[in-house]
Symmetry: C2
Subunit: 195 residues, 2 copies
């Protein structure tokens, strides 16, 4: 196996990249400007060293606390709970939310051995007990595990001062009734709003 | 822009990778085993150093001459002319051809400033003049530029001893008449064979 085949093999192990795409990318890197390859290779090598979880919210960051936790302009009374660090970037890109985040690091899934103590739920309770937070929005995915986790967190927080809410679930904007699955349709009926 | 965003940006500059896939891959590399990242980063860094064009056929190789040119079991009387180095791997994977290759390094395209002297056509003529080659199969793509280049090569070689052939063009195997474009249909009529 030569250098080109080895690199193709590595690319094909990345999520969403098949064998043909991997070969195409490897060929591209062979012909591209070498300064790009030097920079790209260095970015991969230094990634895990430079990015760490924020000690407060658990999001990925280069500085600790992360830029969101240390931003004085953010609303500190409202907290959005997400499953994964990458969910923070997704919500940030919507510009819909201006509070703080809390990353769980997964969802409760007994079959995969993920029990509540493996998630950052006790840290969430500690943050809530400081008394500043007024509302906790649970933004776990609308899946069985995401719903179970949301319910579990609601129970954990029920003796505190906060209001616990959940992101609305229903038909996606621009979607089509014809393509909606049964569960999505059921949820859009249950969550119907007066117009 | 933090290390994760920088890496995402680099991935999104690769062919066939959009912004969302790039972010997904960067997150994956953050969580993956660090030994993979070290190896992967090194493969990218050393690629252009390790892979060079073969001095005989122009294919990408680590050793010069390449394993195909130096394989004594290959048929040295038949030569397959391709546009790009990656075409060699495509044809090799079909196991249909057992001769030698010649990589042009592109196709004639006056609009893009690619004139015949920019391609490895004079080297092809030199190889043919050695007298060992009996047939030259032109395997440029069935496009306007590929056809023009094939015709040009046929003219260059017409005073030599070799037979010049072109890969058949027509309906792809497993394809459907309904989805064939006009040009492909026209070519499949022109190239029809007696059964």
């Amino acid at each position: 196996m030569n250098a080109l085949d080895e690199l193709t093999e590595s690319f094909s192990r990345l999520p969403g990249i098949g064998k043909k795409s991997a070969a195409r990318i490897a060929s591209h890197l062979l012909k591209t400007d070498s300064s790009f390859n030097i920079r790209f290779s260095n970015q991969i090598l230094s990634l895990q060293e430079r990015i760490k979880p924020c000690s407060i919210c658990g999001a990925w960051t280069e500085e600790d606390p992360c830029p969101i936790c240390s931003d004085i302009a953010r609303d500190k009374t409202i907290l959005c709970v997400v499953e994964q660090p990458q969910d923070v970037a997704t919500i940030e890109s919507s510009h819909e939310f201006h509070g703080l985040f809390h990353v769980l690091g997964g969802v409760i899934s007994p079959l995969e051995g993920i029990t509540p103590d493996k998630l950052r739920i006790s840290q969430l309770l500690e943050r809530v007990k400081l008394g500043v937070i007024k509302e906790v929005i649970i933004a776990t995915n609308p899946t069985v595990e995401g719903d179970t986790t949301a319910l579990f967190i609601q129970r954990v927080l029920q003796d505190t001062q906060v209001v616990v809410t959940r992101l609305a679930s229903g038909l996606p904007a621009g979607g089509d009734l014809e393509y909606a699955d049964r569960l999505t349709l059921a949820r859009s009926f249950q969550g119907r709003v007066k117009i």
